[in-house]
């Protein structure tokens, strides 16, 4: 009987993944790959429901969600000896949560896309200037870009407590001016094109469509730096296909696969050896230096404060 590996991934770019990762892997291992997609929360909820009898063998989630899964006892330590390219990964990708239960496979920078003809962005705090605030979109706290952006704003305001109280307060004060608190980054291109907004904090992976607009849009390098995020791979506890899952991770993390994913502008490589063309590099978050410079919120901080951020956000901004 043919072996089957069930993976759980983000719903993005599945056609490309299929071409670059899934099909080649199936050919290589002589097994069948079943793919489940969805956002990380609902996929983890399902893993939790199926805890006793896991359906999914391996999943990719955000750093913080990996930690949350680990705390819930849903995942296992990863045997890195089975991953040939482990040592070629950037250091921050090797064990992002420090518990040996996840490996980063891609990361991204988050900064500000803005109309260079309308404004000048030197600091994250510039976005809230009265003359700009009426022309910006800010990520909702529930999105992936929300907390990192607030964190950077906190740095800019010089009040970077883990509860993000000061930046939330500041955003709340400008809430009537701010055009929208976006939920889906996809809408930003639309708003930018309609001149509804001039600037918004975005993840680098959504940069490409902005660059195609017939407008002078720039990627800011604020003095506080850029933030970002990392997606990681995890292995389900009690998975019956652990070895196959590790084999699959090895394949995905290989320089070859990572290069191809980068060329297709899907994932920035976490593998140092991945070769990336100039053109692709321009649209992605690329290079060890960049990786090291990103100011990421530690998973534990984010997990422990998530509910609190939401509460103060709702009070200051949602009212």
């Amino acid at each position: 009987q043919e072996k089957t590996l069930t993976i759980s991934v983000y719903a993005l770019a599945q056609d490309e993944y299929k071409k670059i990762v899934y099909t080649p892997f199936e050919e290589k291992c002589g097994c069948k790959l079943v793919v489940e997609t969805g956002n990380s929360v609902e996929r983890i909820a399902k893993m939790d429901a199926n805890k006793a009898n896991p359906v999914v063998d391996m999943a990719v989630v955000s750093m913080a969600d990996a930690l949350s899964a680990a705390r819930a006892g849903l995942i296992d330590t990863i045997d890195t000896s089975k991953i040939a390219s482990f040592n070629d990964l950037y250091d921050i990708a090797k064990d992002p949560n420090g518990d040996g239960m996840s490996i980063g496979y891609t990361f991204y920078a988050t900064s500000i896309a803005y109309r260079s003809d309308k404004m000048k962005i030197e600091s994250w705090a510039d976005l809230l200037k009265p003359e700009y605030a009426a022309h910006i979109a800010w990520p909702n706290v529930t999105t992936n870009q929300g907390p990192p952006s607030l964190y950077m704003l906190g740095l800019a305001l010089g009040k970077d407590t883990p509860d993000l109280a000061a930046p939330i307060e500041a955003v709340g004060a400008a809430k009537d001016d701010i055009v929208t608190f976006y939920e889906k980054s996809s809408q930003l291109v639309q708003l930018m094109q309609q001149e509804e907004i001039w600037a918004a904090p975005i993840g680098r992976f959504t940069w490409a469509p902005f660059s195609k607009l017939d407008m002078p849009i720039a990627w800011a390098t604020p003095k506080e730096g850029q933030t970002g995020g990392m997606n990681v791979m995890i292995v389900t506890k009690n998975s019956k296909n652990r070895d196959l899952a590790l084999e699959f991770m090895d394949f995905w993390l290989s320089a070859d696969t990572q290069s191809k994913l980068a060329e297709a502008l899907i994932d920035s490589p976490a593998n140092k050896e991945a070769k990336v063309s100039e053109a692709a590099a321009k649209n992605l978050t690329y290079g060890e230096e960049t990786a090291k410079s990103l100011k990421l919120i530690p998973s534990a901080t984010s997990l422990d404060n998530r509910a609190g951020w939401l509460k103060s956000w709702n009070e200051k901004v949602g009212q």
């Binding site: 759980s8 719903a11 993005l12 056609d15 956002n39 980054s185 996809s186 094109q193």
Partner: protein, 260 residues
């Protein structure tokens, strides 16, 4: 009564403009050359339409959604029409309770439906995701089937059924020959409501998706999470045209406007 001559076109004009306006924007965008939705559209191109057909995952999820929408609606009608008939024609003890039970699914937030079915049906009974989706969608459509059909049965005089029976028809035959033709409008409405409810259902399907099983709206939302290019508009437009086609076919098939 004179006012009526103006009342009808004016009302319909305004309502249709309001309802269809956004759709026109979407159609325009589908054929535009630009990267975003815009009105008036920037240039003309079929590339977004073409792109829809190259996205492979849309195809599988489209089939799944069609199966759920059509299968679920038919199943709900098969369960719902007899129930509404019983509720409006017979003096049934506990009629209100039955009505409440079959109507309940519309008032529960989808996300809760999805979660509870996942936890208490799919996991404990090891029900396949496709079957679970089918059951969930049937349950979600059931209220439309029962209530909308009841609404049109309620006003339909019942002596025509008696007449049909006296002319030699069986009770069932009378139902098909004289009740059904006169409530075709209601059944069409129920079908339409059921179909679109199922076809656009996101929150329930979110939790009831599984390895290899996805519905189209979930897929589309995932696709739009990060990029919104007019291909999604194009897909929407295509789906809308398809739905018109389905309504048209259903009407042909059920012959509803011939009768009402």
């Amino acid at each position: 009564m004179m006012a009526r001559n103006l009342f009808i076109p004016i009302t319909l004009g305004l309502v249709i403009t309001f309802l269809i306006g956004p759709f026109l924007i979407i159609v325009a965008a589908s054929f535009s050359a630009g990267e975003t939705l815009a009105f008036p559209p920037q240039g003309f191109s079929l590339r977004w339409i073409a792109k829809v057909f190259t996205v492979e995952s849309f195809r599988d999820s489209f089939y799944m959604s069609m199966f759920l929408a059509i299968g679920g609606t038919l199943a709900a009608l098969i369960l719902g029409i007899p129930a509404s008939y019983a509720l409006s024609r017979y003096k049934l003890p506990g009629a209100e309770t039955i009505r409440t039970i079959v109507s309940a699914p519309i008032i529960v937030p989808g996300i809760i439906v999805g979660l509870s079915l996942l936890r208490y049906i799919v996991v404990p009974f090891q029900v396949g995701i496709t079957l679970a989706l089918f059951l969930a969608h049937t349950a979600l459509i059931l209220p439309y089937a029962v209530r909308v059909v009841s609404a049109s049965l309620g006003n339909l005089r019942s002596d025509i059924e008696e007449a049909a029976v006296l002319l030699g028809s069986s009770r069932l035959g009378a139902f098909f020959r004289v009740v059904l033709p006169n409530i075709r409008g209601g059944i069409m409405s129920a079908f339409i409501l059921g179909f679109v409810t199922s076809f656009n259902q996101v929150p329930v399907s979110l939790f009831l998706s599984g390895p290899g099983v996805r519905t189209l709206p979930v897929d589309m939302i995932a696709y739009m999470e990060i990029v919104f290019d007019p291909s999604v508009a194009a897909l929407s437009a295509l789906l809308a045209f398809m739905s018109i086609g389905i309504v048209f076919l259903a009407e042909r098939f059920l012959g509803f406007s011939r009768y009402v």
